[in-house]
Amino acid sequence: MYQKIALALAFSPRIEALISETKRLVILFDSELILIHVGKKTTELEGKLEQVVKDADLPKDKTKIIWKEGKPGKMILDACREENVDLLVAGAMKNESFLTYYLGSVGRKIIRKAPCSVLTLIEPKIETTGFSQVVFNGTQTPITPFVIEQGMGFSKKVQADQIFILNEIKMYGLQMGTAAEDSEQEVAHTRRQLVQDEIKYVEGILEKLDKGDLKISIKVTGGRWAIELARFCEKIGADLLVVGDEHKLNFFDRIFPHDLEDLLSTLPCNLLIVKK
């Protein structure tokens, strides 16, 4: 599924934990590991990084270290493109006063422009994170079948216990508002139909996929998908949220934040952004 996994490295206190988490994924997916560091290559830093690699016991033949100088976001993206990376792993930032996690401006830029999927870990651990409860965004968008397929592949590899697929009924308020011209029975029927349509949509996608031993539950909601996903993840204590990204975000998305941008500002759990 992922031939090449990259990790963007900074010499922070979490470097060992991030390497450990990535190593686990590299082993699970039988991938090559690309370590990307943006900064001046000095003998001291080179020695430090080699020591970290040695301590983590990374397979030498499958590990490549790339040094780049320049703007961190741009350099990381360049390295991903040059190496045809399939999955980029990054750490989130922590707001110590509110105990919440978010993505900084470099992280956001990477996610907006990354040519590959991106896994953001909020609290990387040396003993590695278990992905027991995984939530997928099942809202009807062109990329959703691919998101569910990729999410299932990932969940099987990490041996998730439970999968939740959360669907948003688009413009529920508007649809029910216009349906309010009907009789009580018709309104109830419309309401049921809206829920059924969402369930059918996900079932249609799942039919074509190998589900393995995964336990899957479909949930339907009536709000904005990003917000509802974040709330649902917090409520069930999810370990991983899988969403798709089909278009590059731009300046206006920062002024009028929406969907993905809503999630990036307050990460409810680890986040896998699937790109085609």
């Binding site: 529920y172 649809q175 216009t178 709000g223 929406h258 969907d259």
Partner: protein, 411 residues
């Protein structure tokens, strides 16, 4: 404070009861024929007003709507509140998420579907102001208004048509909805500017300050205003009675915004519309709350407003077949081809562009509100207003079958 006397109170209550009962009867009839409720409500107004009741039973019509001036003033207050609330709900219907997701294509379609009717409407009205009945003393503004009036799409009506045809959630359906939302936003911004220009004349604040204030207010409400709403709403949801607290405070901020825009020289309805957009876009306004607001306003205040139209205009006396014919033909063709060209420019297929064209040609709510305000401001004549109402009726009846027909085309 001056109050209504005993007889005036009775008269006002009878007026409201007659309007709501007739609106209900005729919207139910409209429903039987799969037509939007607004059509039934307008017909109810025509029956209650000078057109039918006033002609057949002038005494009864005069007793109900002409015998007590103070009761009529109070009724006008209800109508004003209704129109503000209708715009508020129209704002709530706009989902910026949907607009962003559809992106440039929706913008291209919306812009083209507005540009062609505005340009053709302007040229025609400017060339023949007396024939069409636009105010010759305010020729440029009134002509622009006419173009704008035939460029509006009725979001709620088109949403219902798309739901009935089961294409609401398709790519084409969402594109139509997103484009209709953009048309709503652009339409009300342009209309507010036009209206302020018309009203300003000698004593107004001028063109550029009006445009600047309109844009500034819009930007402020959709950024900082929305941020403020996002901080206050969670507190309201958590600490106040639900949905009572949310409903009363939502309406309160709607009236505050409306009075603010009226104060700075933009029409009150614009404030109500923009606060609706900002509030509707907040993640803390639940879909259930939106549904309640919809039901509350659409079933009580919307009928009062749409019935009141028939009370103000005599649809037989002021009817001019020539003006109506021109308005209907120009309105349908310019809007359809504008949206069609926009669709082709956005790179969507001929068939889809046709569906988008027919979808966006649906009128039936906002355009009538816009027309009535222009009539009351003296920008257009009663004949032209009737033409706009008939355009709304024809387009809301015809859009569904035309979309259905276009869907079956093998092109």
């Amino acid at each position: 404070m001056e109050t209504l006397n005993h007889k005036e109170v009775i008269n006002l209550l009878l007026q409201l009861a007659a309007m709501l009962i007739m609106a209900r009867v005729f919207s139910e009839l409209a429903r039987k024929f799969k037509l939007p409720a607004v059509i039934g409500e307008i017909i109810a107004g025509i029956i209650l007003g000078p057109t039918i009741l006033g002609t057949l039973f002038p005494g009864a019509q005069d007793y109900l709507f002409g015998s007590h001036e103070m009761a009529n003033v109070a009724l006008d207050g209800f109508v004003q509140i209704s129109v503000v609330l209708l715009l508020f709900i129209a704002g709530l219907e706009v989902e910026l998420q949907v607009v962003w997701n559809q992106g440039k294509n929706a913008l291209k379609i919306a812009a083209a579907s507005m540009a062609l009717p505005i340009i053709t409407g302007f040229v025609l009205a400017y060339a023949f102001p007396e024939f069409l009945g636009v105010n010759i003393n305010d020729r440029a503004v009134a002509s622009t208004f006419f173009g704008l009036a035939i460029s509006i799409t009725a979001l709620a009506v088109v949403a219902r048509i798309l739901m009935d045809l089961d294409i609401f959630k398709t790519q084409t359906g969402l594109l139509i909805i997103a484009a209709a939302m953009i048309v709503d936003i652009l339409g009300w911004i342009v209309f507010s500017v036009i209206l302020s220009l018309s009203e300003s004349g000698a004593e107004g604040i001028g063109v550029w300050p009006t445009i600047g204030l309109t844009l500034l207010f819009t930007l402020f409400m959709l950024t900082l205003g929305k941020g403020l709403i996002n901080r206050v709403l969670p507190w309201i949801n958590k600490n106040l009675a639900w949905p009572g607290g949310l409903l009363s405070l939502s309406l309160a901020i709607c009236f505050l915004a409306a009075s603010f825009t009226e104060f700075i020289g933009i029409h009150a309805i614009f404030g109500a519309f923009i606060i609706g957009v900002a509030l509707g876009d907040s993640e803390y306004l639940t879909e259930k709350a939106k549904e309640i607001l919809h039901q509350f306003i659409n079933n009580i205040f919307a009928p009062i407003f749409f019935v009141s139209i028939g009370l103000k205009v005599n649809f037989v006396e002021a009817f001019d077949p020539g003006v109506t014919g021109v308005v209907v033909i120009l309105g349908l063709l310019a809007k359809y081809f504008g949206a069609y060209i926009g669709g082709r420019y956005a790179g969507i297929s001929r068939k889809e562009s046709m569906i988008v064209g027919f979808g966006l040609s649906t009128r039936g709510s906002m355009d009538i509100i816009l027309g009535l305000i222009a009539l009351e401001t003296g920008l257009v004549s009663e004949s032209l207003f009737i033409g706009l109402v008939i355009l709304a009726l024809i387009s809301s009846i015809g859009s569904g079958p035309l979309i259905n027909w276009a869907q079956k085309l093998k092109i």
